[in-house]
């Protein structure tokens, strides 16, 4: 987090300023040129001079010296108030967030009572009772400010409490205070530190105000707020006097705020740091445009590459999907299958660079304008996502969401629109469409919600449906029903389906053709039956073999050694080479082209040894 913080120039300047102020104030006895109370009436209200760099006040006292000494009151008080606020807030917040239930209720309600207390009245009382004692005032201010720390800590601790490592510590029988200290506290530090800086600024402001009316400070002793008050009395005679004290107070508060901003950003970037490229972004395209786009296909993709921040995450993907055909894109997490789908849909966010052709209805969508793209949305290419609960808006009923789509695509109103919505819901196999239409998404089961989200995709009568892991979030018996539904709908409407999945079984169930992806590339493409019976690429073979469904108890499962390389670590040659049992030196030399194995079945494979391996192993599935 510190390293991230140091990359922010504004934060670094603000931090350096704060450090300077704190060091100067601590060193006041050493560096202050005069005693803060030493009067020199002959030089009263002077502008900055060599002897008095910040000028002098009404009584000829040196302003710089008073600022330094006054800082001890102001910053010292700030430290007192902050410590009290944190001692109370962090302890109560941790206990409340971690223990929960009754304890949480008691602490939260007491915190609310404290927040509802009129702070200024309490402070006036404390100053009154303690005979204007600055320490008691600051302790009271700390108590009054503690609820903000309590609440931030409680929220963060509650989030950490749900993490699995807490359950694991509880299984160990660790004592609760120990769990809080070892596991909860280190993981809530970030938000607490950010909150410190913000609260510091707030307290400094309040304290300045109190000192301005001489609360918590006994003149002639200096304080920053008190000096502002002094300057205000002689504002007409010497306006300059307002500058040193006012600027110090303002700049310190601003610096605290900027440090808080910087810390917050640094903490956030820690969690979502984009990978940085260590390899050149553009590598030789070996098979771009090897074959022109297929004009008869519903969707034809050629040479599709996607890069983010100069780092390629999908390279040179090409496939066709015919009408009434289903193409499966299968691969493990991080292989680029979802990015490929998003690139085809034009739904990648800012920062992504997409190259290549996405031919739909004779138009290259990747290079066409946003109007051509918008015209295909819903009616041309539709999309079904993994989690139907996220895809549906929780604020609206099924009828109103689906009705809006029907209104947009078919320009229907009133009863006609209602009729079309019910027809769509019947089409996706919901037994009681009227009942489903009246419900909100959270009132639907997972399977029903996925059916509704498929109905939404069908509303525009699309030619191509892209389904990204449509059954992964569902129970296995429901998965079967959704796969059957997709098959039935394809039969009825003749739409092309692109199914993205990690499950080879789902591919076998629904797809005609399959593209196997590994580390951003298609490594094998062809008819499903052909690929499952005679997988040509070593990765496809290993993937099929490592599925426990094909195994017997007791015998170890065949595994693929190692892990999938991240995009920054992709080699120049074959991406799978490092894990491949059949690797030879030539595999690492240059990019491997996707070559046709069986002409008739359009079976393509990205392996220079595919031909040899066929001869060596006779197409046996071994790894």
């Amino acid at each position: 987090m510190l390293r991230d913080y140091l990359r922010r120039p504004l934060g670094v300047v603000a931090g350096a300023f704060l450090l300077l102020v704190v060091l100067a104030v601590i060193g006041a006895p050493l560096i202050a040129p005069y005693d803060q109370l030493k009067m020199d009436l002959g030089h009263a209200l002077s502008l900055p001079t060599r002897a008095h760099p910040f000028g002098t006040d009404r009584l000829g006292r040196d302003v710089l010296s008073r600022l330094l000494w006054g800082g001890r009151v102001s910053l010292g008080g700030l430290a007192e108030a902050l410590s009290v606020a944190f001692a109370i807030g962090v302890v109560l917040g941790l206990v409340s967030g971690y223990v929960g239930r009754l304890v949480d209720n008691v602490i939260s309600r007491s915190t609310e009572v404290l927040m509802a207390t009129p702070g200024i009245v309490v402070l006036l009382m404390v100053y009154g009772i303690s005979n204007n004692n600055s320490h008691w005032g600051m302790v009271a201010l700390g108590v009054l400010c503690s609820p903000s720390v309590t609440r931030v800590t409680r929220t963060a601790a509650r989030a950490v409490r749900e993490e699995v490592f807490i359950a694991s510590a509880e299984v160990l029988g660790m004592a609760r205070p120990l769990i809080i200290l070892r596991h909860v506290l280190p993981n809530v530090c970030g938000p607490i530190i950010v909150n410190t800086a913000v609260l510091g600024a707030v307290i400094l402001g309040i304290q300045g105000g109190l000192n301005y009316i001489n609360l918590g400070v006994n003149p002639p002793a200096a304080s920053w707020g008190g000096m502002v008050s002094d300057a205000q009395r002689v504002l007409s005679q010497q306006p300059w006097l307002m500058v040193p004290s006012g600027a110090t107070l303002t700049l310190t508060i601003m610096a605290l705020m900027l440090v808080a901003d910087g810390l917050r950003d640094a903490a956030a970037s820690n969690r979502s740091r984009p990978p940085r490229s260590r390899a050149p972004a553009l590598r030789p395209a070996v098979d771009a445009g090897a074959t022109p786009a297929e004009p008869r296909a519903a969707l034809s993709v050629r040479g599709l590459s996607v890069a983010i921040g100069g780092l390629e995450v999908v390279r040179n993907v090409a496939f066709d999907v015919g009408d009434a055909q289903t193409l499966g894109i299968v691969g493990e997490s991080g292989c680029g299958k979802t990015v490929t789908a998003s690139a085809v849909l034009g739904q990648l966010g800012a920062g992504f660079v997409t190259e290549g052709e996405v031919m739909f209805g004779g138009v290259d969508l990747n290079h066409a304008g946003s109007k051509a793209r918008a015209a295909t949305r819903g009616t041309g290419i539709a999309y079904v996502s993994q989690d139907p609960m996220v895809a549906l808006d929780p604020c609206f009923t099924v009828m109103s969401q689906l009705g809006e789509l029907v209104g947009r695509h078919d320009r229907l109103r009133g009863a006609m629109r209602r009729e079309r919505v019910l027809e769509l819901l019947r089409q996706v196999g919901l037994p009681d469409p009227a009942d489903t239409a009246a419900r909100f998404p959270h009132q639907l089961s997972g399977g029903m919600a996925q059916r509704v989200s498929i109905a939404c995709a069908l509303a525009g009568r699309p030619r191509v449906l892209i389904a990204d892991e449509p059954t992964t979030a569902l129970d296995v018996t429901i998965q079967g029903e959704i796969l059957d539904l997709l098959r039935l709908l394809q039969k009825e409407t003749g739409m092309a389906v692109v199914l993205i999945t990690h499950d080879l079984g789902v591919v076998a169930d629904l797809c005609d053709r399959v593209a196997v992806m590994y580390a951003g590339e298609i490594v094998e493409l062809g008819e499903v039956g052909g690929i499952f019976e005679r997988p040509a690429h070593p990765y496809t073979r290993a993937l099929l073999a490592s599925n426990p469904i094909a195994s017997r108890r007791g015998a170890p499962l065949p595994v693929i050694a190692g892990t999938v390389p991240s995009p920054a670590d992709w080699p120049v040659g074959c991406h799978f080479a490092a894990r491949c049992p059949y690797r030879i030196a030539a595999c690492n030399e240059r990019p491997v082209p996707l070559e046709t194995m069986v002409e008739a079945a359009l079976h393509q494979v990205r392996c220079i040894r595919a031909g040899d391996l066929e001869a060596v192993t006779g197409g046996e599935v071994t790894a």
Partner: protein, 337 residues
Amino acid sequence: MIAPVPLLEVSDLTVSYSRGFGRPPLVAVAGISLTLGHGETLSIVGESGSGKTTIGSAILGLQPVTSGQIRLAGTDIAHLGRGPRRAFRETLQAVFQDPFSSLDPSQTVGEAIAEPLRVVRRGLPPTEVRHRVVEVLRQVGLEPAALNRFPAEFSGGQRQRIAIARALVLKPQIVVCDEAVSALDVSVQAQVLNLLEQLQREEGVSYIFISHNMAAVRHISHRILVLYRGRVMEEGPAEDVCDRPAHPYTRSLLAAVPVPDVAAQRERRRLRALSLAASPALPATGCPFAPRCPFATSACIAGPPPLTDIGGGRRVACVRIGEIPPPGGQPALEVTR
């Protein structure tokens, strides 16, 4: 393989969650009994809402038990408080699903694995702690260089290995694996399944393997317990349950698993369509599966069916078990290559 005296014996376990004033509590687990022997893997399978995770949590003491007994080596731990439970923490450990939240991001791998030793065996000298940590790290297939790195630097599969190392460092007798391989890719899942089996051979540890993944369950289990809506539907040796399922629910569950073989899957699709009733037919007052069961009759809604022994160590909760036809076609979960 199964010792005469079970290591863990759960009897008539019921767990219910309060749903606030005026609403009846939600019964997540209703009167479950199970046993686990030394060096045995018992899988608990079922769909979401079946109560399988609740059983695991109840055994681990993370979830209060409403009624029933959990006997660990002869002692009932179901209603023990935090203090007395500590005596069993060396016996019972857990590996959880999410490899991205199962390790504290602020601890190094070495600290995470050493923590159980530091907490449970307070007096152990640091050199011995380190020795044991390195030993267990090697066992799960990681290099000692991993010790000083943070979990964020590891992939999902590697983190799951670290979580397993942490669970095993105390040499527990039972490890509850709650969906321990579900979040992993197929190839990484195979690595972790192999690791779990290897550790069982080396250490004799018993597993309670909670999962919805029938393929993984079939590979790793000795016995399987099939759960539906908090009740046991079927229990028996893994191969029998997977290849000759008796209960209609087990059949539908197995028929729904898609296999990576086009011809086989075409046939399975047919079985899948037959294995579930087209529309809800009966209320779930008796057998919870009755509304979706293609064989349900009025006899099924009279009351919860008893779990009856059908021989060969198998128990089935179905009143029509003698009348329904045997599953047609090929064995329920097999790919022949």
